[in-house]
């Protein structure tokens, strides 16, 4: 297939940002495509993993942040496990995701950034995950309240989901971690 690479004012900016975030050397990729063959969601993506690497090498810009794969990726890490040159492509996808969020590029289907934010907010408040709150707020936020509503009565009855928020975590410790991590995010080590 033909992939158009948008002309950048400064080509390679995205590649540089990804390499800075991950310390992964994408230049060692020789397009053996083992990552794409093993990827369980490659068939649904406009560009499979090996092609994303190639696009980054060729100086792709922010249009790459809208590519489906970064939001369909399952973090199964099959790409990384099978890469003959140990390219951590799973980390590359994480970096592309956080760059997409920083640059405000919306998730085309589903809303992983919202889910992640809600999940981490609950962890920051309670020190542990609180499924029921995260799921309810996510469904409110994405207008998908009706989806899965059939499952909750049985899950709650069977004790397959906690109703009350978690207790027992060292909350002071967790808040310090979040505060410090937010401060560190802006600075380059």
């Amino acid at each position: 297939m033909t992939t158009r690479i948008a002309k950048q004012k400064t080509p390679g900016d995205l590649l540089k940002a990804v390499q800075e975030k991950t310390k992964v050397n994408l230049n060692v990729c020789y397009q053996c495509k083992k990552c794409s063959i093993g990827c369980p969601v490659a068939d649904q993506a406009e560009s499979p993993p090996s092609e994303i690497i190639r696009r980054l090498q060729l100086g792709a810009g922010d249009e790459l942040l809208q590519t489906g794969l970064i939001w369909t990726c399952l973090s199964c890490e099959t790409c990384y496990a099978r890469c003959p040159n140990q390219i951590n492509f799973a980390a590359v996808v994480d970096a592309l995701k956080s760059l997409a969020v920083e640059k405000g590029v919306a998730d085309p289907q589903g809303d992983a950034p919202l889910f992640n934010r809600l999940f981490l907010n609950a962890v920051e408040s309670y020190g542990r995950a609180y499924d029921l709150q995260v799921i309810a707020l996510y469904k409110l936020g994405t207008g998908s309240l009706k989806q899965d509503v059939d499952k909750f009565p049985a899950m709650l009855k069977k004790g397959k989901m906690a109703i009350l928020p978690p207790s027992g975590a060292d909350k002071g410790r967790i808040r310090r971690i979040f505060k410090k991590a937010a401060q560190n995010k802006g600075t380059k080590a």
């Binding site: 975030k21 991950t22 310390k23 369980p40 969601v41 939001w71 369909t72 399952l74 973090s75 199964c76 890490e77 099959t78 990384y80 496990a81 140990q86 799973a90 980390a91 994480d94 995701k97 956080s98 969020v101 289907q109 589903g110 992983a112 889910f115 992640n116 934010r117 999940f119 981490l120 962890v123 020190g127 542990r128 995950a129 499924d131 029921l132 799921i135 996510y138 989806q147 899965d148 059939d150 499952k151 899950m155 069977k158 004790g159 397959k160 989901m161 978690p166 027992g168 975590a169 060292d170 410790r173 967790i174 310090r176 971690i177 979040f178 410090k180 991590a181 560190n184 995010k185 080590a189």
Partner: protein
């Protein structure tokens, strides 16, 4: 055998059955699990998708607590196991991550705390001969498909769990319990669990593919060691039937639940009543009283 035990958040919510069966089995085998006081979330997939340094720091908070207890940390949730192992690996291999973790925790940590999955201590510390002696209710040839998913085996350099493409730890436990392992090729495929809420159809299709492979191999149940896999394969079966028009009715059971049965523990104490897809056929084969 004494360990620092990290239950993980799902132990009190979507994976109470995993937690209950782990504690019951440990007690029956004389394995002392000391819950880490004040433990906090490992960060799960939300943290590593957002900020690698935050992810490593959240996991390290618990690793440091375990280190202070002076025992190996035992984790029964494959996802928490993965995050803890990856944190150790990154801290050892990246000065930048190590410094960031030290800053976030206000304490330096060198990535040296041993992290073990519960099935690893069964195999390596207790050992199969000792386990065999404790089996009082053998599984009577129950056909099981052992499913590892992603988190136990990948990335292999960080988890070091077993052969990353063909792990056999679960099969060796099933063998000792008197079950019959089916040969199948789906054991390290992904269930799609990470997109369970965000891109549900991906999860439904991935999980259906996994169950389909186990069915084709003649399995009567799928055995798991990860709460993400358990939820995807079990709770999503109703959605698979709706989307794909096929019937699955495949019980998805934690390895510790099945081991508990073999050790003669009652299904109730092992959380069998919490499973969404009825395990009645499995309990009937193994002749355990519900």
């Amino acid at each position: 055998m004494k360990y620092a035990y990290y239950p993980g958040c799902s132990a009190h919510s979507t994976a109470r059955d995993m937690h209950e069966s782990c504690l019951a089995v440990a007690k029956a085998l004389g394995i002392e699990l000391n819950e880490i006081k004040g433990w906090t979330c490992c960060g799960a997939s939300a943290a590593h998708q957002t900020d690698r340094k935050l992810a490593a720091s959240l996991a390290s908070a618990n690793l440091l607590l375990a280190k202070q207890m002076g025992m190996d940390m035992v984790v029964n949730c494959a996802a928490c196991y993965n995050r803890s192992k990856v944190a150790n690996y990154e801290i050892i291999h990246s000065e930048e991550i190590r410094q960031s973790v030290a800053d976030c925790l206000g304490q330096s940590y060198d990535g040296s705390q041993p992290v073990r999955h519960f099935v690893e201590i069964l195999l390596k510390d207790l050992g199969l001969p000792a386990l065999r002696k404790k089996i009082i209710n053998p599984l009577k040839g129950l056909k099981t498909a052992s499913y590892y998913g992603c988190y136990l085996v990948r990335p292999p350099e960080a988890t070091g769990f077993d052969d990353p493409e063909n792990p056999t730890i679960l099969e060796s436990l099933i063998d000792v319990m008197g079950g019959e392992n089916v040969e199948w090729s789906g054991k390290v495929d992904c269930c799609g669990g990470m997109q369970n809420l965000t891109r549900t159809e991906i999860t439904v299709r991935r999980s259906a593919a996994v169950i389909g492979m186990a069915q084709a191999a003649g399995a009567e149940c799928i055995v798991v060691a990860c709460p993400m896999c358990q939820i995807s394969l079990d709770v999503r079966q109703a959605d698979m039937e709706k989307l794909l028009g096929k019937h699955y009715r495949m019980p998805v059971i934690y390895i510790t639940q099945l081991l508990g049965l073999a050790l003669g523990i009652s299904p109730k104490k092992l959380g069998f009543d919490r499973l969404m897809v009825s395990p009645a056929a499995v309990l009937k084969t193994t002749k355990a009283a519900v």
